[in-house]
Amino acid sequence: MVSILRDLRYILIENRMGLIGFAIIMFFTLIAIFADIIAPYNPYELVGPPYTPPNERFILGTNDIGQDIFSEFIYGSRISLYVGFTAPILSSIIGTILGIIAGYLGGYIDELVVGAVDVMLALPSLPLIIILAAYLGPSLNNIILVLAIFGWPGFARMVRSQVLSLRERAYVEAARATGAGSFRIMFRHILPHVVPLVIANIVLSATSAILTEAGLSFLGLGDPIAKSWGQILRRAQVGHALHQGLWLWVFTPGLAIALLGTGFTLLGVAIEEKVNPRLKHSRR
């Protein structure tokens, strides 16, 4: 317990990258939680004339149908954070379970999982994600599902390689000698040792989940009802915002995506530095 607190202190306070990353994520989390208070308007309501340039009533102006862009932007943080957390967590659950089973049991189960992972990693994922999203229909949960389908192989490969070395440790052998079953060893004794690395990778893959969701929304494959940053960018593109010089409409949501993504990467790198034994040894 104390060592976990010490690790947290290192990641969040002493490591400057971790601190900045954590601050960025907290900033957007607060915006998402208090969106109802911060946003001046209901983002779905038509509150002004279309294509209003930024003024004191509408900080970022209004979109092509007269919704307040700043309010849309505030609520958009909820979608990005939701996708950024759920998609990698879902992938990590599938990947970790398969990785542990494959690594511990070995044999043809291992070969099966490794084969599936190799194939999945070799598939052209972005075109496939686009085509699956097109066929499944536009909904946020479909996007998360598709992201998880392509996210689990990375987790499975990483967990499996960890388990391969963990299962040879003395304490696992001791557990086996006392008659613990495979299931118990895998999930009581091995799982806790891979969790830190899994968490680091959840945070690291949040960035690509956020980027992919925004990209799909930008292409018009996102949930048309959910107000996401990608959706705002799409409306700006379809509504020829730049042609009319309304550059803030494009600039703000994209900057937010980049910032939040950077936050997750910085925090992820900081956690990984602490928990990945390979990285720790190579640091001089």
Binding site: A122, L123, Q237, P253
Partner: protein, 314 residues
């Protein structure tokens, strides 16, 4: 690799058949085709046959280019549409597949060589930020600055619409002029992962004993650099195989933002118009491109690293 190929073929077969309606009835509704024509189409595409016969017919048609008709551009065939677009995608992806790793590795080499300096820190941090930048966003901002404000680069298309060229050089110049912004944006947003990997591998190599000995012998910097590079570039080159697929896969978004008339933009258009036959064929071609690019990168890796030799397995 065969398995990947196989899965793409299977998906291409299953997905359209999981959708409501079949190509013949959709075409009939859209263009008021007479029932006799529909009957001919149904029997031509074997839509009335059991699934396994459909599958055989599908495989056959896949390799003979009989990909059916576009819903949107009927009566143009899918094959025509895709082949018309493919050269543009190959051009754009070919150029960025070189510029992205080249620029990324160069930044990484310089950062690793001067490890621990302010320059190193700046390169690493900017790579982390760049990694999170959505490139369609940077594309839009570049379009705003260079296209709408400064008016020095075109913001769309691969050629000036309606232009006529008096000689081949003019044509090439126009192509390159339209290519500049897309290549610039893709390079600036995709280089980051190469930089990080190259930098780390460079730092690792520089700490090796053989580098220490080389330095102690008093070898000139140039020679030291050569020793380091031969080893340090191997990890980013392995990554080439994985990332090439990503660059090519990004074609859909890149080409859409710039209305660049490649296969990626075709995919976007066919999604918007629910033009499923075109969607499938375009996806098939894009996937093939990715697989071939990966294979090429694998071969390149074997050439660069003498320790790797491909052995035929099973």
């Amino acid at each position: 690799m065969l398995a990947v190929f196989f899965i793409i073929i299977i998906l291409n077969f299953i997905l359209p058949r999981a959708m409501p309606g079949n190509p013949a009835s959709i075409l009939a509704n859209e263009y008021n085709l007479p029932p006799e024509t529909v009957k001919i189409l149904v029997s031509l595409w074997k839509l009335d046959r059991p699934l396994h016969e459909q599958f055989v017919a599908y495989i056959e048609s896949l390799f003979t280019g009989q990909w059916g008709y576009s819903y949107k551009y009927y009566p143009r065939t899918v094959y025509e549409l895709v082949m018309e677009r493919l050269p543009w995608t190959l051009l754009l992806q070919g150029v960025t597949s070189i510029t992205v790793p080249a620029f990324g590795m160069l930044m990484g080499i310089l950062a690793g060589w001067r490890r621990g300096t302010k320059y190193d820190v700046a390169v690493t941090i900017s790579a982390i930020i760049v990694y999170a930048i959505p490139y369609y966003w940077l594309a839009l901002m570049f379009q705003y600055v260079f296209g709408y404000q400064l008016r020095i680069f075109p913001i769309a298309h691969a050629l000036t619409p309606g232009a006529s060229y008096s000689n081949f050089l003019e044509y090439v110049a126009d192509v390159l002029w339209h290519l500049t912004l897309p290549v610039l944006v893709v390079t600036l947003t995709a280089y980051a992962s190469y930089t990080l990997v190259t930098r780390n591998s460079m730092v690792d190599i520089l700490e090796e004993d053989f580098m220490f000995v080389a330095r102690a012998k008093g070898l000139p910097e140039r020679t030291l650099m050569k020793h380091a590079l031969r080893n340090a570039l191997l990890p980013p080159l392995t990554m080439l195989a994985i990332r090439l697929g990503h660059i090519v896969g990004g074609a859909v978004i890149t080409e859409t933002v710039f209305s660049y008339p490649g296969v990626g933009y075709l995919i976007y258009e066919s999604i918007m118009f629910k033009d499923y036959p075109v969607l499938n064929a375009a996806f098939f071609m894009l996937s093939i491109t990715v697989i071939v690019a990966n294979f090429a990168a694998d071969l390149l890796y074997a050439v660069v690293d003498p320790r790797i030799r491909y052995v035929r397995r099973g």
